[in-house]
């Protein structure tokens, strides 16, 4: 006697993107265990692992990037319509239906994904036909969402201008939602995923000393980094946060909380 577990990856929401995919994969194994718990001798259970399931594992795996990379696709992208608004990457439900990506600067999904791999994860580009990459596509194709997610997602980076004073209390919340996962706690870095990332704001201030930067330029460095990430001459691997994710008002609140001098 045999049973088959052809588990499919559910679609829609994913409250904790990074943990979602492995949980889905584990479900089949648990199902197999449960089926086997009846003690009927000699039963064989076949677990069918779909491409989307394998792709889900890749989606949550930092190993898709270079050796030592610590971030996964799931750290920056939600998969459903109820996306965490503080994640820098666009939500990926129905992403395979979109006409363009990166604010219209890419029209090929594979090229778009490879831009992420190159800039944020240091990985080698995926090539169509490569099984691992193809599985990732299958996972992306499995992600559902409303019609708005099938359209090109806005990605406006804006100019680098100092936003002025804001609300530090609100900024505290924003910091925990948008910054703390990678940078750790303000001024200590405690709990940072990426231990090499600067402790905010002190490390960034020290890295831009008087004599090389004016006080105004130093403040703008924070805006520049949030808005442009590694691009436009800065470097590093931090993804940029668009105006749609963090508004200029959000930045004002965030920087007030961070007490940027």
């Amino acid at each position: 006697m045999s049973r088959v577990c052809a588990a499919r990856v559910p679609t829609g929401s994913a409250a904790s993107p990074r943990s979602a995919a492995p949980a889905l994969l584990a479900s089949c194994a648990l199902l197999a265990a449960a089926l086997g718990a009846g003690c009927s001798d000699g039963e064989t259970t076949t677990v069918t692992v779909t491409p989307a399931m394998r792709g889900a594992e890749r989606f949550a795996d930092p190993a898709l990037g270079r050796e030592g990379n610590l971030v996964a696709c799931a750290d920056c992208h939600a998969t459903g319509a109820d996306a965490d608004p503080m994640l820098p990457g666009a939500p990926l439900g129905r992403v395979t239906e979109r006409p363009s990506f990166w604010g219209g600067q890419e029209v090929d999904l594979l090229r778009s994904v490879n831009q992420c791999l190159f800039w944020f994860m240091g990985g080698q580009p995926l090539v169509a036909g490569d099984p691992e990459g193809d599985d990732l596509f299958a996972y992306l194709e499995s992600l559902d969402g409303d019609d708005a997610l099938a359209a090109a997602q806005p990605f406006t980076l804006g100019l680098v201008v100092w936003p002025g004073p804001g609300d530090p209390t609100r900024g505290d919340v924003l910091y925990r939602d948008a910054c703390q996962f990678c940078h750790g706690a303000k001024s200590t870095g405690e709990g940072a995923l990426i231990t090499s990332s600067p402790v905010l704001p002190e490390d960034t201030v020290v890295a831009h000393p008087d004599g090389e930067y004016t006080a105004e330029e130093r403040r703008l460095v924070f805006v520049e980094k949030v808005r442009h990430g590694p691009f436009l001459g800065y470097g590093g691997s931090m993804p940029p946060f668009s105006i749609e994710v963090l508004s200029d008002i959000d930045l004002a609140d965030l920087f007030s909380y961070m007490e940027i001098p």
Binding site: A32, P51, R54, W102, V107, L109, L159, V160, L232, Y234
Partner: protein, 401 residues
Amino acid sequence: MLAASGAAGSGCSGEDETITEDEPLEGDAWPAAPRPLTIPPQGMGLVTNSFADTISAVDLGTGAVFATLPVGRNPVDIDGPHHVAVDPASGSVFVALSYPVIGGAGPHAGHGSSQALGWVQRLSLADLSVTGQVRVETNPGDVVLSDDGSRLVVSHFDLAATTAPDATLETARATLAVIDPTTIQLSGSAEPRFVTACAAPHGMALSRPDGRFAFVACYAEDALAVVDLDASDGAVERYPLGAGIVFGNVAYGPYAASLSPDGSRVAVTSLVSRDIRFFDVEARRFEDRDPVVLRGAAYFPTWSEDGATLWAPMQSPDGIVRVDVASGAAEERAFTRDDGCKLPHEAEHLGDGRIALVCEGDHEGPGSVLMLDADSLETLTQTEVGVFPDSIAHVPPAAAP
């Protein structure tokens, strides 16, 4: 790979077995983006939008944009697609990426991006997908292809080298990149051959059909350079536009060079002296005649098929002039604010009684492409393109790959 769940019959006398099977992917992953460029019946113009990182495809029948596609290597930085050349025979489009410094981008952008090396990308004429790329030097200025498609040449408009505190004429001279288009790969392309040409080389024309000689407008040297690209050391002859030229004090500012259809003369347009001069190719000297003086800075011109007429855009004031080459008589149409053409940059004779004119716009909002009646210079159509358009390549309908 997923871990197999293994035996799951704990506590039972028999051995239960769990087998993990990988289901293969059905169908193709990563389908190509559905963006084919169907060349309209009357051909199309490909326009580089240098501050928008896009190419606009203009239907030359209607004069309207029918597709706009992104180009470049980087999804955030301004790649600065700057000038474009098309090889219909191989179905290729060549675009130079210049990485200009953009104001308002932050302290690091101001310090760094002006030093970014340029690239040339080869795109498929069918859909503008990237088919190859090769690195060139900083500030690529013009990209031209020989008529036979065998030689691609890129100038480097390196103004920074001409204004450095310790610059001399020798240190200021920048190169041309000479590229065999067939050697351009998606990655790992061989380095081009670099030939030192002159100070701030910009607009170019190549001799026909194989592009052995490059005629180069040398902005900061006030000269036209003629470069023998077959010579192993890149033999260069430089012909000054006038007397008393002093390096560091641009008096003419030649910006573009355009070869007449019969290959006998080169029209050299200048920004500072605001004029057009004609270079005799066979005699290797500027023609002994007065320049055609415009009211504005002269940009990229275009010839009539018989070589009797030249159309040249001009800026400050904005307009276009039609020049009778034999007599030097010029007729001007000036553009007002309502004419839809701010800062005209390049003209292209379409061979059907019309001129396509690329207008930069204000460099923040859309530019435009006007179709003008070649005789009356009246506007026939007008269409918006991307930010800071700077060139147009004419793709005839027969070029459909």
